[in-house]
Symmetry: C2
Subunit: 219 residues, 2 copies
């Protein structure tokens, strides 16, 4: 891997780059992947060309914006795995994830879209295994209903974060409702079979916007 240590940016270019990243954070946070690079440029007070000079595609900008934040989410999940109470660990993770998704729709789209696996394969795998463990541990503890499945977690994230439009706190109410349905309770009706991973993928691809590719050339 040849270190692409190109010469440092000119001072104005560096400043603009920072402006672009900051503007992108804001614009993506509110509009998600639906945000346009024209939006970002305008918000940053620079021309579109400048954005494309720094980030050759929208994809590149997305990667630059979210790599770090997704790693932080994985770290959080791992930290929750260490919670002495499995139930608290799982629900803390779910609550924190939903809050983050509500506050930053871009991060939501990055984590839940199909592109996740392509863009951040390592983080994605790690996240998946940690979620499996969080769920297994809470079932073993006897607090999480046994018919719940790890594949339900991203679906719940998607469902709940769709509420985002109604204000940043709105998700909380419905997440709580769902979490109250997660506890073992003698009156619970059985859930039946969980979704397969493929079904989850289909579902996410239908609900979470993708970065629209310039031209669709399927391999």
């Amino acid at each position: 891997m040849p270190a692409t240590a190109s010469r440092p940016l000119r001072r104005d270019a560096q400043r603009n780059r920072e402006r672009i990243v900051e503007a992108a954070r804001e614009v993506f946070a509110t509009r998600g992947f639906a945000a346009t690079l024209d939006d970002v440029a305008h918000h940053a007070g620079v021309g579109v060309g400048t954005v494309y000079r720094r980030f050759p595609t929208k994809e590149a900008l997305v990667e630059a914006l979210f790599t770090e934040r997704i790693a932080a989410m994985v770290a959080l999940a791992e930290e929750c795995l260490a919670d002495p109470s499995a139930w608290d660990g799982l629900t803390r993770f779910m609550t924190a994830a939903c809050r983050v998704h509500a506050e930053d729709r871009g991060l939501r789209d990055a984590m839940l879209s199909l592109g996740m696996k392509k863009r951040f394969p390592e983080a994605g795998d790690r996240m998946e295994t940690v979620i499996v463990e969080l769920v297994a541990r809470a079932k073993a503890e006897g607090t999480l209903r046994p018919d719940f499945d790890a594949t339900d977690v991203p679906i719940i994230f998607t469902m709940v974060s769709d509420i985002g439009g109604a204000g940043p706190q709105a998700y909380e109410r419905y997440l709580r409702l769902v979490i109250d349905g997660l506890r073992v309770c003698s009156r619970n009706a059985p859930l039946g079979d969980p979704l397969t991973r493929d079904e989850v993928i289909v579902m996410l691809s239908g609900c979470v916007p993708a970065v629209r590719p310039r031209s669709a050339t399927a391999p």
Copy 2:
């Protein structure tokens, strides 16, 4: 109301009209309001022009397709209101509504989109009051948690029916999960304040596709 009793359609035109309606039902059921009238025409084996001759706009077709079915949903809600068990009445209604939404995405879009109020104002009002009663009755019965609100019902419909992409049965699992969270239970965490009607409207407009107008002329 001047009976627009124009002369009866020619036989071939009548047959085509029926084909169009049937094709539209199928296409809208799977693609929702995202379906194109070109899709419908193709599916019906006629030209687009024929569709537009019968239904001057997409709106008109939507109205023709869903007026009756929405009235049926209102009737169902009223029937559930007569259930001796308020809990069963409410959950039966919610389950039936979600099943219908899963089976016919067009009906879902018609019932949950903002256009509902403009297109079917009477049915919309009636539905709203019946839901309020269903919820009040179940709270009075002591089975529904008291911090639940009637405005939560359409939100739950939206959340759950978003799962539709993963197959027609997928919604069931998550609806059950949510319903299990609706029962009074000493371990339930308080939900806090419900969404205002305006917040509900914002949320729905963000999640449910509208019939795209020919040109955007905001009043």
